[in-house]
């Protein structure tokens, strides 16, 4: 299938299909439909128009959300035609199939002809070809055909491209071409699109997408896939050593990071700190930094001392969870106040000693020695709240993704060729004329960018005609 032709310098070839039209009616009609440019244009336009729907109607939302917006009948109708997940609906996929089919059929129809044109170029400048060319020039020179043929051959090779020489009765034809690859740009582009589709299908069939929330210091290897309908156990586990957020001086987040380890057969086989835009990959499975949050409630850090100052270590108090201290009793965090009576952050702990009534005590973060005033056998000081975080990881396996990139590469390369490379051809015919003169006809054509080729053609001819006349002076034959 031809795509972008700039200014056409050749007549549009009659499609093979038109010739076949008088044959079997239905099959040929169907084929003609599948390879038509009209189908291509309409498929593109219909795909564009229908795609708009899915951007206006939010996709894959919970049912309740739609019910709030739409009347019952509208909801039922839209649900019926999959408008809430339209890019995966049967009719949209059918449109995409039609698109791919159109591309494929066009290629089947036209590629062989393009290959034939390139492999068996028209080497002879006959009258029919001459009339079809946009650019021709004629002149006469004194001398013999073989001598001029040699001279022009050398000149063409130097100024344009090395020509092929064909001799017919009484005439010698030179044919030179450049940019043959231009004939295949469109096919590469179209093949690229089909390959991208294949890659997408591979990814959908053999890959999966999932999401993991892993609290700090724990590991996970179990995944829910396909919207929780299926489960999958990874052959290894991922441990979140720590998640953290870094900020700019202004306080806006500058970095979300997770220190991850891959654990396989009880051993750490890989460790990497991932950030947004810098994922971890192991055995074809990718882990992307995607979210975070607090895992469970915050814990209060409390340190213990004897009145003489000897440290007895730290306690981590979860809300209302009593923690025992040997030979003392139990202590639990009851309440946290960001600013207790204007004295800053403080924690209220409940101390229970065997055989004594429980007592509630406020300990202030800013005044670590204040608890001495209680004259107890232990002094508590509050080190602040720390919250345990979890990291949210997007997990993906997509064995089709490299196929997609291959398709993209082909698509881009094909497009560059289609737009910026032109197949330029120049013919020169030399034949015996009257009075010992040689009659010369030159013709040229290009499949794109005619104005540029006109300049090339003129420049090549000027160059060619200049050189041999100099030769002629040297050997007056």
């Amino acid at each position: 299938m031809e795509t972008v032709t700039d200014v056409r310098t050749e007549p549009v070839p009659v499609p093979a299909a038109v010739e076949r039209k008088r044959g079997k009616p239905f099959a040929t009609e169907a084929w003609n439909f599948l390879i038509s440019l009209k189908l291509a244009i309409w498929t593109l336009i219909i795909l564009a128009l229908t795609s708009i729907l899915g951007t206006v109607i939010e996709q894959n939302q919970p049912q309740d959300k739609y019910r709030q917006v739409y009347e019952d009948w509208a909801y039922n109708l839209m649900d019926r035609i999959n408008l809430f997940d339209m890019y995966h609906s049967w009719w949209f996929l059918l449109l995409l199939c039609l698109f791919a089919l159109n591309l494929t059929c066009c290629t089947i129809d036209r590629l062989p002809r393009a290959i034939r044109t390139v492999r068996k170029p028209k080497l002879i400048l006959d009258d029919v070809t001459e009339k079809s060319l946009g650019l021709t020039e004629r002149w006469k020179s004194k001398g013999a055909v073989p001598q001029w043929a040699e001279a022009y051959k050398a000149a063409l090779a130097r100024t344009f491209a090395s020509p092929r020489v064909t001799e017919t009765d009484g005439a010698v034809h030179l044919y030179a071409e450049k940019g043959v690859v231009s004939r295949f740009g469109a096919y590469a582009t179209h093949a690229g699109i089909v390959i991208i589709f294949i890659g997408a299908i591979l990814g959908n069939v053999f890959g999966f997408k999932s999401y993991l929330s892993i609290p700090d210091g724990t590991e996970a290897s179990h995944l829910d896939v396909r919207g929780g309908k299926e489960h999958l156990d990874l052959p290894f586990a991922v441990r979140n050593n720590r998640f953290w957020v870094e900020t700019y001086p202004s306080g806006q987040p500058s970095k979300y990071a997770s220190d991850l380890s891959v654990i396989e057969n009880g051993r750490e086989v890989l460790r990497k700190t991932i950030t947004v835009n810098d994922p971890l990959a192991y055995k074809g499975i990718w882990f992307y930094q995607s979210g975070y949050g607090e895992a469970g409630g915050a814990t209060a850090q409390v340190s213990l001392k004897r009145p003489d100052g000897t440290s007895l270590g730290n306690l981590s108090l979860a809300p209302n969870e009593p923690v025992g201290i040997e030979g003392y009793g139990t202590v639990r965090g009851v309440k946290y106040d960001e600013n207790y009576q204007g004295n800053g952050p403080a924690l209220q702990v409940k101390i229970e000693k065997p055989g004594q009534p429980a007592s509630d005590v406020w300990i202030l973060q800013g005044r670590p020695e204040q608890d001495r005033l209680r004259n107890d056998t232990l002094v508590f000081s509050f080190g602040g709240l720390t919250s345990k975080m979890y990291t949210g990881l997007q997990v993906a396996k997509d064995p089709g993704v490299n196929v997609v990139w291959l398709g993209c590469l082909l698509l881009t390369a094909g497009m560059m060729i289609s737009f910026f490379v032109s197949h330029c051809r120049i013919w020169i015919r030399l034949s015996e004329g009257l009075k010992g003169k040689v009659e010369i006809t030159a013709g040229g054509t290009a499949n794109r960018n005619r104005p540029a080729f006109e300049k090339t053609f003129a420049a090549v001819l000027t160059e060619i005609r200049k050189e041999p006349s100099d030769n002629a002076k040297e050997n007056p034959a």
Partner: protein, 280 residues
């Protein structure tokens, strides 16, 4: 008090406004020298806006958050206008006609006027945007958009001229336009630059998404609209080689393509919700 770069962008806005006025006055008054003034003003605007982009870039480094200045709505608008202006100056030089100015430069002007009305501060990059893909993605997309802007401006000229009988028009503003054949060719050529750039923009966007989220395509509204734009221009390119579709219909498709481009660029962020909210 605005920083130097914003003051220079404000000056650019003023210059585009003046150039627009000159080009339109040149057409109606049939005074070539006015159009020539327009060209000089556009050249000045190119220098001023280039300097402003450079200064903004340097300022971001001074603030300790150095990054390329194409990361929020304001920056993308000025970059868009900058690209349109450069692309326009190139076309004007190559085709030797200043009549395009009245149809293309206003697009750059209105873009800058819109930029003038919105928040212009330099914000630090959110983690999602910290990627080398950002450069390739944004630059290819906006260079493509600029090419489409030029194409649409010329398509309007084509339709105006064609409606009044094409090249047979004598006298009046339309006679100053290049031949319809030249206009038609230019509509195509601008798209021939824009389409590969848009394709590269979509592909780099997909590659980036795959690297950031593990999905190269998720039918997010922005992605979908970029595909819609791509489809419209693909239809244009095929229309141009089909009998009965070139000329007028192709020009209409070029304008439709640019309308879709503008919606993809601005409409999606202002009207729809999705992953590409500018500046955060």
């Amino acid at each position: 008090m605005n920083t130097l770069n914003v003051q220079l962008f404000d000056l650019t806005t003023f210059l585009f406004g003046t150039a627009t006025g000159s080009y339109i006055a040149a057409l109606y008054g049939k005074k070539e020298f006015l159009a020539r003034i327009g060209t000089w003003i556009c050249a000045a605007a190119a220098i001023v806006s280039t300097a402003a982009i450079g200064i903004r870039w340097i300022e971001s480094y001074r603030m300790g958050i150095g990054r390329i200045p194409v990361t929020n709505l304001y920056e993308s608008l000025v970059f868009f206008a900058w690209s349109i202006n450069l692309f326009y100056l190139f076309v004007e030089r190559k085709y030797g006609s200043r009549s395009f100015g009245a149809f293309v430069v206003p697009i750059a002007f209105f873009t800058m006027v819109f930029a003038f009305t919105i928040e212009s501060g330099i914000q630090p990059l959110v983690p999602a945007l910290q990627s080398y893909w950002l450069h390739a993605h944004v630059i290819t997309c906006f260079a493509g958009y600029a090419a489409f802007a030029v194409s649409a401006g010329v398509a309007v000229m084509y339709l105006l001229k064609e409606r009044r009988g094409g090249d047979k028009v004598t006298g009046g503003v339309l006679a100053l336009f290049p031949d319809t054949k030249v206009l038609d060719d230019l509509v195509y050529r601008a798209i021939a630059w824009g389409f590969p750039l848009l394709t590269a923009g979509i592909i780099t966007g997909a590659a980036w998404a795959n690297f950031a989220w593990g999905t190269y395509w998720s039918w997010d509204p922005k992605e979908t609209w970029s595909l819609i734009v791509w489809l419209v221009y693909a239809a244009f390119l095929h229309a141009r080689i089909t009998r009965g579709w070139h000329g007028r219909r192709a020009a209409v498709l070029s304008i439709a393509g640019f309308a879709a481009t503008i919606f993809c660029y601005l409409g999606v962020n202002l009207v729809l919700s999705g992953l590409h909210s500018y500046g955060g």
